[in-house]
Assembly symmetry: C2
Homo-oligomer: 310 residues x 2
Amino acid sequence: MTDKIKIFSPATVANVSCGFDVLGFCLGTIGDEMVIKKTSNKGITISKIEGYDLPYATNKNVAGVSALALINDYNPDFGFEIEIYKQIKPGSGIGSSSASAAGSVYAINELLGRPYNTTELTNFAMKGEALASGCEHADNIAPALFGGFTLVKSCTPLKVLQIPCPADLYTTIVHPKIEIKTIESRAILPEKINLKQAVTQWANVGSLVHAMHVNDYDLIKASLEDVVIEPHRKKLIPNFDLIKTESIKAGALGCGISGSGPSIFSLSKGKQNAQAVAKAMQLVYSKTNIEFDIYVSPINTEGMKTMRID
Amino acid sequence: MTDKIKIFSPATVANVSCGFDVLGFCLGTIGDEMVIKKTSNKGITISKIEGYDLPYATNKNVAGVSALALINDYNPDFGFEIEIYKQIKPGSGIGSSSASAAGSVYAINELLGRPYNTTELTNFAMKGEALASGCEHADNIAPALFGGFTLVKSCTPLKVLQIPCPADLYTTIVHPKIEIKTIESRAILPEKINLKQAVTQWANVGSLVHAMHVNDYDLIKASLEDVVIEPHRKKLIPNFDLIKTESIKAGALGCGISGSGPSIFSLSKGKQNAQAVAKAMQLVYSKTNIEFDIYVSPINTEGMKTMRID
């Protein structure tokens, strides 16, 4: 049996404009690295965290909580030690906690010889995600574990759909380094929405799924519209409207809030367009005193990646 | 040029559980027949209506209003005479007015040598539909004209998507002959809905579209769920819950209200299942004193059909 594994655990974008709480996709160029070792002691230990300041206590760390959920089910007579090399800033809106929660269970499953399927791993990882967000959801976990473009059809029972997407679909993401408290970005959402807007939203979700199946870029563009969530949450993100306008002017198919923000994502046809969008985004935020990072990435259809096995 | 055409204008099912105002499909075994003749007089005349009592005045008849919209745009120096052989009972909830509105413009377009595409015809037909329902919508018109399974992505501009569907998908429809006033079935709907239910609904719409693309019957079954509209409108349809339970017990993938009712549709894999569902539906209503009709039909991927040209 393998004793040690090093993995890449990708960042993800949830919601994707029209698909609040349901749609998500996986990134290729940004993610955490994690090293998980088999130990003779039972249980889960977090032995190293680099990059960002996160709790070492297993039951207070999302990677620890999801790992515990897995071993409580499997009950091995040994344990695991987790090292986290965090690249994704917590609270950036591109699935930082999901990368940790999903990464640990993916790695442990590999070390155990894959007793669980990806849906089962998603269920374990959701326990970790719940620690970060207060409730179990899978819109970042699912694309991190399944890769590509995903639709969480339902959480109970968990049903994740893998939606095909065009090979040359790229995303550009700008992360303005401001803090939005999760509690605030949730509190700003209304409990009830207009039926008329809901109809627009589900027409867009259906249309986006169809567009992905038939590689219709014009239809992807027309479907990347959020009339329900964005009007509320964009108020928390400085220059959101300008970023959106300039991204689309630069060639993006669409642009919206990544998860609950503050990161903003866009989708483009091809790397060149995605890079032009990056330039446009950069121009907007470089005129402010807000620090920011920008990423360009193809959709990562693989998801988690094993980097080394010892 | 052809002077006379006889067509079959199909009945349709709108909403399809999760896709209120957006999804629809076309039937093969029930529909109206219409005969349209070129006349030397300009304008539109309705010369014969059989089957049901409907207005002869062109501007008060949905087939007349949509035909007028077309000829006002095309401006031919001749006119058309319309005969309507109505099979679909007005107010039954399976697209009776849409069949009339779409049939006349389809037939006239054929007689004119097809100057308009199907989206343009849908736009004209929506003018007729508006006379019947008080507002322009396309969820019955689109499947009648395009055939198959359709998603109305948006009305302004009009964008209709043709969603593929498995070849052996059958529908069973029961039409309990009670009257539901359109105004009542609209008034019963709330203006606002819970965000949580809306999320369930758009997960189902995306999931149903995906399921149709990949021929996944289990997923079609799981997606045919309406948590937003059905709980309200089913109150207007006697025995709705029992019909639904018995249909599913008999093998249906799902069962819901057709349009705004009172007809109830189900979808099944294969003709045999659809016929078993018909039997189950019959058993329920035959124990009441409500008159009813039952239809079994494959999904009609053709839509409108030219029966004879002279």
